[in-house]
């Protein structure tokens, strides 16, 4: 695990641990509730990639922006999204973030800069540029993190948006979560570039490739990119190499993944590694860690309870919110 952990405030480290545990616990519970038939539609889970969203968003203020993806729960939680409102949305309830109109792929919270998960792969990339333009034109020091996957890096939106942001020095960090699979297709079948960050050279912007399972490495790499953006030096392309433990969607039998590959990546689980490190550093005791895990278990239990006890929207609400 890289990075100089000693320079990061204790509270920040503990927050990052708590966020990773919150994402994992939320996602594992969603997997169970989905299997039990309580969550309609499609869900795409973030398990295994927690360090990436957590390390990246640990650099942000509430008034900074993110754009997310179809695999967005981790990004939203890392940006400060409330797990009870998220769970209620997944359950299709009126109390959910989108009043039951969006579901897993469209959760947003504009009050804390979450400009939405997105059901279209690569759909958020151009929108991130617009938020960065707002930040720049408003003469604020806000920044945008645009999360995208290895699959989305093959979309045309990636080319148009990154090129435009580079031309205008927009304060945006393009963060590619390279989890090796676009839906069910391995990246080696869809790109001759091994490190997707290398594509930055086509736009004349800096790039960095980091271990996406090392929360500190991600935190520091994205931190540098944000500092650059705030200095008016424009976008950076950050590639985080990580791995998706679950399928493209819940229920995906994942026959396309070699067993050895799965085993190797599970050994690199970002959460126990960080937990051990924090205990070794004396930032946490074993008891502290257990206490945090218990708190989060309780939080997610309450989130499910909140969702289950919440009413569905009335059918007529279908007709609301089309126009202001």
């Amino acid at each position: 695990m890289g990075g100089n952990t000693m320079e990061i405030a204790r509270e920040k480290l503990i927050d990052m641990f708590r966020t990773m545990v919150r994402i994992r616990t939320f996602e594992e519970r969603v997997s169970r509730e989905f299997a039990a038939g309580k969550i309609p539609g499609f869900v795409h889970l973030y398990i295994g990639e927690e360090a990436t969203a957590t390390g990246a968003c640990a650099n942000l203020r509430p008034d900074d922006y993110i754009t997310s993806t179809h695999r967005g729960h981790g990004h939203l939680i890392a940006k400060g999204g409330r797990t009870d409102l998220m769970m209620a949305e997944l359950f299709g309830r009126k109390t959910g973030y989108c009043k039951g109109k969006g579901g897993s792929m469209h959760i947003a919270d504009a009050d804390i800069g979450i400009l939405g998960a997105n059901g279209i792969v690569g759909g958020g990339i151009t929108i991130a540029g617009g938020a960065a333009l707002s930040a720049q034109m408003g003469e604020t020091d806000r920044v945008v993190i645009c999360f995208l996957g290895d699959g989305a890096s093959n979309r045309g939106t990636f080319h148009e948006a990154v090129n435009l942001a580079a031309c205008w020095n927009l304060p945006v960090v393009y963060l590619i979560e390279n989890n090796l699979y676009a839906e069910k297709t391995h990246i080696s079948d869809t790109s001759r570039v091994t490190n997707l960050a290398d594509r930055a050279s086509a736009y004349g912007i800096p790039d960095v490739t980091v271990d996406g399972n090392d929360v500190i490495a991600v935190y520091e790499a994205v931190g540098e990119a944000i500092a650059r953006a705030k200095r008016g030096e424009g976008p950076t392309l950050v590639e985080c190499k990580t791995y998706r433990w679950h399928g493209h969607y819940e229920g995906d039998p994942q026959t396309y993944k070699p067993d050895d590959e799965v085993k190797e990546w599970k050994k690199k689980d970002p959460i126990p590694a960080f937990r051990t490190r924090l205990i070794e550093m004396g930032v946490l005791t074993e008891e502290d860690a257990v206490e945090i895990e218990k708190e989060i278990d309780d939080e997610i239990e309450k989130a499910v309870q909140f969702a289950e006890e919440s009413p569905f929207p009335s059918p007529e609400e279908t007709l609301e919110d089309v126009f202001v």
Partner: protein, 324 residues
């Protein structure tokens, strides 16, 4: 009162609205110092507002519309200049899926965004620079559609479009831009979106027409008057929201309806108006509803073919005389 062209009307509104509201800006291709847009509608803006608010872009329709959406979602009031409406196909995802943010997010944010695009045949611009795509745009929910037929209307409607807190597409016919003039008052006026205008009062047949077809319908009405047939010409001005009431009231008065629209028959705006009349004014109809549209083909290039393709005065006169 003074006389202005269509393009002057648009240009004046851009100046006035950018003066009025610092969050208004224009984003698009070739809108800056070297061209001012293919129809000159952006002239003088770059000199006055500079590159900060006249955002001249690469040829990247996807990035333009995506950035406009992202900026609108974060407090700005962008005007996305898409040049030809046909180019909207390039940013199909942004138009079809990303514009639906407000609804998907449960009404939690607004998208005050105006999209400008030039429509219409008549310039031998062939299939990729001539379409009117009314039906295609009407299939997108959450998008208001404005189609002015006079400089007077364009001036009042564009102000309302820019100030509207919803996505609005503003379509201008390329054969009206520099030619048609109107008398406009010196003082400011706004025309609300969703109010049709009766361009000519009459008693025998209601004709519903938009954009260039309004001009052709007026000419046809003069000729029909000579034969003793009185045409009432309704210009809806906005396709969404559609002022059904004015159309239905007119049909109740005349008992006959011809929809005159520059687009292929199938899946057209004309089909929608015909359906509205069939459902809501059936008992008042004395003859079948007629549509005068273009054939179900792409727009051809050669002037001979294009003239055949475009609905004209003679087509309208023929349809009217068939039902009186």
């Amino acid at each position: 009162m003074r006389e202005i062209t269509f393009n002057q009307a648009l240009n004046e509104v851009f100046h006035e609205e950018m003066d009025r509201d610092p969050t208004v800006f224009i984003i698009g291709e070739d809108i800056g110092e070297h061209w001012g847009g293919p129809f000159g509608q952006f002239q003088g803006l770059f000199e006055k507002y500079g590159a900060r608010r006249i955002r001249e872009t690469p040829i990247s329709e996807t990035a333009i519309l995506g950035a406009a959406i992202g900026a609108a979602a974060t407090g700005m009031r962008p005007i996305a200049a898409m040049m030809f409406a046909d180019f909207l196909g390039v940013c199909g995802d942004e138009l079809l899926n990303q514009l639906q943010m407000r609804y998907m997010f449960g009404g939690k944010l607004k998208l005050p965004l105006t999209i400008l695009a030039s429509i219409g045949a008549g310039a031998s611009a062939a299939a990729q620079h001539s379409k009117s795509i009314y039906g295609w745009l009407m299939a997108i929910k959450g998008l208001k559609i404005v189609v002015p037929s006079t400089p007077y209307d364009a001036r009042g409607l564009l102000k309302s479009a820019i100030r509207d807190d919803n996505p609005v597409i503003f379509l201008t016919h390329k054969m009206l831009g520099g030619r048609r003039t109107s008398q406009v008052p010196d003082e400011e006026y706004l025309i609300p979106l969703g109010e049709a205008d009766i361009k000519r009062e009459g008693s025998d047949v209601t004709v519903v027409a938009t954009a260039l077809m309004v001009r052709r319908a007026l000419a046809a009405a003069e000729k029909l008057q000579e034969k003793g047939i009185s045409i009432e010409l309704v210009d809806p001005r906005t396709l969404v929201p559609l002022d059904k009431q004015t159309i239905i009231e007119s049909v109740k008065k005349t008992g006959r309806l011809v929809v005159f629209s520059e687009e292929p028959w199938t899946g057209s705006f004309a089909a929608e108006v015909a359906a509205v009349a069939a459902e809501e004014a059936f008992d008042f109809l004395d003859a079948p509803v007629k549509r005068v549209c273009a054939p179900d083909t792409p727009v051809p290039f050669s002037p001979v073919l294009e003239k055949f393709w475009m609905p004209d005065e003679e087509d309208l006169i023929k349809a009217v005389t068939q039902i009186v």
